[in-house]
């Protein structure tokens, strides 16, 4: 029993180390959101109102979501793909590490990474940019992004089910950029045409952002958005399970 716990903790630590050492992760999930946040809140009037809140607060939420989405899509997806295509899964299967521990350590590690991104962005926003929110709203919006962020782990798993790690890298980046721009993380979707806005509302990125924007704007938790995100998780998980099962059958 003890071995099992040790194995899971060791696996978790290894996942964390591998993520932090991944340059792509550091660039897309840490450097880029921080830089964008400072850039677009300095060039624009950060006191301007949008969605019932000021621009800096709104954009802090956008960039936090952007960082969390990036963690799931860029480093996580590629890690899954690599592990499957380079024989590590086969290697792990003959060790006493239980399959459940392997999955659990992935979820826990990614959860910790996402939490760190949220905390980092909020600290930068609060202290670096002097954003004031009540502690309830900080916690609510932080938890929303953190929990909602797991849906992008599911999307990352789906992308990672493709065995060519290089293709996954390119595809994940395209999906990441596409969903971020379309979902209004870079620029608010309010600035888009009405057709684009309708499309935007279907993206998981918009839904994750929307919930956070609502919370900082003083609206209650968006359960509708939560439902849409949950539906996405189910679809992503079903699809990736189906694809992986099919690959194994060959």
């Amino acid at each position: 029993m003890n071995t099992k716990l040790n194995a899971t903790i060791a696996q978790c630590k290894a996942e964390l180390l591998r993520t932090i050492r991944n340059k792509r992760f550091v660039f897309f999930s840490v450097v880029m959101p921080v830089a964008f946040f400072f850039l677009f809140t300095s060039t624009m009037d950060s006191g301007a109102k949008i969605n019932g809140t000021d621009w800096a607060t709104y954009y802090l939420m956008s960039m936090t979501v952007y960082g969390v989405v990036g963690a799931g899509l860029t480093s996580f997806a590629q890690r899954i793909s690599r592990e499957r295509s380079q024989g590590w899964i086969r290697m792990l299967k003959i060790t006493p590490l239980p399959p459940g521990s392997y999955i659990l350590s992935k979820v826990v590690a990614q959860g910790l990474i996402n939490l760190a991104i949220v905390l980092l962005m909020f600290i930068i926003g609060g202290f670096g940019k002097g954003i004031h929110l009540s502690s309830t709203i900080w916690i609510e919006s932080g938890l929303w992004i953190w929990i909602g962020g797991f849906s992008f782990m599911a999307l990352g798993t789906l992308l990672g089910s493709i065995k060519n790690a290089d293709a996954v890298q390119v595809l994940a980046l395209m999906v990441y950029m596409g969903l971020s721009i379309l979902g209004g993380l870079w620029f608010p979707s309010a600035s888009m045409s009405s057709t684009m806005q309708t499309i935007a509302e279907f993206t998981p990125t918009y839904q994750l952002g929307h919930g956070a924007w609502n919370l900082v704007g003083g609206t209650a938790i968006d359960w509708n958005g939560a439902l849409i995100l949950a539906a996405y998780v189910i679809v992503f998980m079903l699809l990736s399970t189906y694809i992986m099962k099919k690959q194994e059958a060959i």
Partner: protein, 303 residues
Amino acid sequence: MKKLAIQLEHVTKEYKGKKAVDDLSLNVESGTVVALLGPNGAGKTTTISMILGLQLPTSGKVKLLGEDPRDIKVRNRIGAMLQDVSVIDNLKVAETINLFRNYYSNPLSLEQLLHISGLETEMNKMAISLSGGQQRRLGFALAVAGDPEIIFLDEPTVGMDITSRQLFWETIRTMAGRGRTVVLTTHYLDEADNVADRIVVINNGKLVADGTPSEIKAGTTGRVISFTAGASVTTETLQAVPGVANVEWSGRRVKLASSDTDRLIVALIEKNIDMCDIEIKSGGLEDAFQALVQNTNELKGAV
């Protein structure tokens, strides 16, 4: 009676109607070093995959240490170096080894593992930056991290340089000396010859020969007598000796192959053949192996 480490009973594995492994039965006792030989596509890797529980047989039974190979308790007692497994990215050598050590209940120490893989000076390097041979040695360290009772080595020395290989086989011999069971496949037949105490030859998914290296060699090409011949000796005088099939010269050195070298040497002495520096050796495993594979292929063609 010794305990059985591996039991295969009438194991067949089909892929899309094609039999990769065909009614294979095999028992391996604990403490033996078994080499699985066969040409490419003979079914070696499929057999090992089934023994490890990575694939299920289409029919037949596979037992590892008397249990289902997929049992976690069994996995704690085995280790394997598989083909086509790369190293884990963004982890250092020592970190990778420690990760695997944590999977097992009685792991070897990091120092021991670094020592037997010869990676002491590379311990703080990123695993991915190692050379091909070093990556294979890291794979070996991972395979033995849990101090396994059975070690599976699928083409372990591919990509290793000569020094790496020597260190590697030395370690395997030490492990075998400690009563560990070793199952290996290799393309280098001299390696199998040197290290294995049992050789199992597989062709077209079927077992075609099974025995000690000298039995396998003797059963096919027999042994070789070589000596330096005196001036009076010619091919004709040698061929007059009963039991001589063909004569191979290199300078004044003569090589005679025979299935019964004991009788041949007596005959040579009786005929007063002028010989010095006499050597009697087994024919190469390479020749034996080629002959076996060819024979079974011809048989298959005839059927």
